[in-house]
Symmetry: C2
């Protein structure tokens, strides 16, 4: 596919959560329709999409019918089963491409690939059993963190190890899942860069945002980040390096630790990212439209930041703050229309905007 | 209804064109769902709505089923048949209310009502036949413009009369529709004010925009308008006067002529308005979200303008300029996803943004 998708084309989105929802809204601005594929009933993205398929990722015929009805397929999360991707790709191009998924689906593959690119990561080791964990802990010291190689998000699938004698219990907690041990990095801040690469190879990056977490879940992202000018340049160059190495098309999020020794890559996400939500109220073209433009083969848009923004997630019953936040003129609300409120569930976010 | 609609509620929208589409997108940001009622197949708003009813405004059962499934009904155009509104209102509140529709559906009623409020309009006269037209032309002079009292938009249902001997032909062109004769007003500019009134009576107005037309269709709206400071205040006060007199809830557009003798009201539209599209890229809360906030009983949002914007409509095959406009970093694109391109049809618009 080389020609840009014309208005009226249909984008298939794997996953119907809030990221799919905001991608669908961005696509509508460009005159593009969206078709959501999502196993769960009544997905948030379905409320703003032209069509929704409710089926599992193991439902071959549903995947194929979906792929036949759309012009390009993208995704809002990286843990899509390989077999599902194979089914789709036989009928319809997937963007960003498979290499980005292969690399980012597995923490060990990802860190190995990043260091191969000459980028710094936290120390890490493959863990297959107690002896390999014990050896790695001896090497790396404590504290360290044992993580499943796959399917982790929002702090799930992670166990902190503070003393070597906790090794066996930690391994047990992961229930035999393939694992990786990561050393702790003393950092002064965590930042992320949301960057995009067009089908023509053009690269653009939004200003880095500074993140805070609680209970393993992103709480806030603030732009501008507290960073020396050099840090901004370095962060953007790292993101561009990754995008080019993957021959990537779309938006990608890179989480970085700021340390006295420079920037260390924490992880990458081959998709729009929670820490890029501030762009909705800080840029003419936000991360969602930038992603749609890229995968549709359109030129990238203008992501220059025109305001200072602090994005705050509304998690669980924080959605009840809506009435108060709606009254605050500095707050731009973005709610996800989720049917049920659950602890730890991202229900919406608010962008607090300050004009410079 | 006094309590604000909680997230998860459903807004019914009469009309599935681009205004309904952009209202639905704005509603999604607030966690609200939309249900579109539209006689035409595949309406642009249906692509971003949770549900669509395809039925005519004379289909009582469909109107009633629609009204039962939504929490509030609003509309994207003012020419909704009264009987349809009656059917709906028996089951579900309509916002903005009926008085705004009654006044704005009929040019004669509207102008009479506006002058009753102490506002200036162009000279006008009710026309029922040739003698009344001849008499009015004698009174008002030429040029003058004969318009149908109802169902006119984008220059349709209007005939310009340059000489008294054109009266009979002009009347014939309107095919016996009830009519009004309007005198020409020598104006230096046409501006419009998009203003909102909340369920609590709070009023807010966006900065006035300056409009240009071609062939009776809005071409561009520019903010800031070329107006003395006094003109801005006057325009906003006129809009507030109208909103309060109608006990209005929602967004309303007021078109005004700028004349050496002050501002003259051209017409009002009880809905979001094409000349307010610039707010999408010039304000944190745009006219669409402002309308949704108002009709949902939420507090009005912050419509302070933070950029200079020129909105340009893409009409007919101007949609083919998309590729070029997508490359221009100053341009924010808003396409409507309409299936067919027709001459005179609004296919999208572009907001050219200049940071002050």
């Amino acid at each position: 596919m080389t020609a840009p998708l014309p208005p009226g084309s249909t984008i298939g989105i794997l996953g119907g959560g809030q990221l799919g929802r905001m991608l669908a809204v961005a696509a509508s601005r460009l005159g593009l329709r969206c078709h959501i594929f999502e196993p769960g009933a009544q997905p948030p993205a379905g409320d703003v999409a032209a069509a929704t398929t409710t089926a599992g990722y193991d439902d071959g015929p549903a995947l194929e019918a979906f792929a036949r009805q759309v012009d390009i397929v993208t995704y809002e999360f990286e843990n899509i089963p390989t077999a599902a991707l194979d089914r789709i790709e036989a009928l319809c191009p997937i963007r960003p491409g498979r290499e980005a998924l292969r690399v980012s689906q597995d923490r060990l593959t990802e860190k190995t690939w990043l260091t191969g690119l000459g980028l710094k990561t936290a120390p890490f080791a493959e863990i297959t059993d107690l002896p390999s964990l014990t050896a790695a802990l001896q090497d790396m010291g404590t504290p360290a963190i044992l993580k499943t190689r796959r399917f982790g998000y929002d702090g799930k699938g992670q166990v902190r190890i503070d003393r070597p004698d906790q090794a066996a219990a930690a391994l047990e907690e992961l229930q035999g899942a393939p694992a990786i041990l990561e050393g702790f990095v003393p950092f002064t801040a965590e930042i992320s860069v949301i960057a995009a690469r067009g089908a023509d190879g053009q690269v653009a990056a939004f200003d880095p945002g500074e993140n805070t977490h609680r209970d393993g879940i992103l709480r806030t992202t603030k732009v501008p980040a507290t960073l020396p000018k050099r840090g901004v340049t370095d962060a953007v160059l790292i993101a561009a390096n990754i995008l080019n190495a993957l021959d990537y098309v779309g938006v990608l999020g890179v989480e970085l630790f700021v340390t006295p020794q420079g920037l260390i890559v924490n992880e990458i996400a081959p998709r729009v990212h929670n820490s890029g939500h501030w762009t909705q109220n800080g840029c003419t073209v936000d991360q969602f439209e930038q992603h749609i433009r890229a995968i549709a083969g359109w030129p990238l848009g203008d992501g220059t930041r025109f305001a200072d923004v602090t994005m705050e997630n509304l998690i669980g019953d924080e959605i009840d703050r809506t009435a108060e936040l709606a009254r605050d003129p500095a707050c731009a609300l973005h709610l996800y229309g989720k049917r049920d409120t659950k602890p730890g569930r991202k229900m919406g976010h608010v962008n607090r905007v300050a004009r410079p």
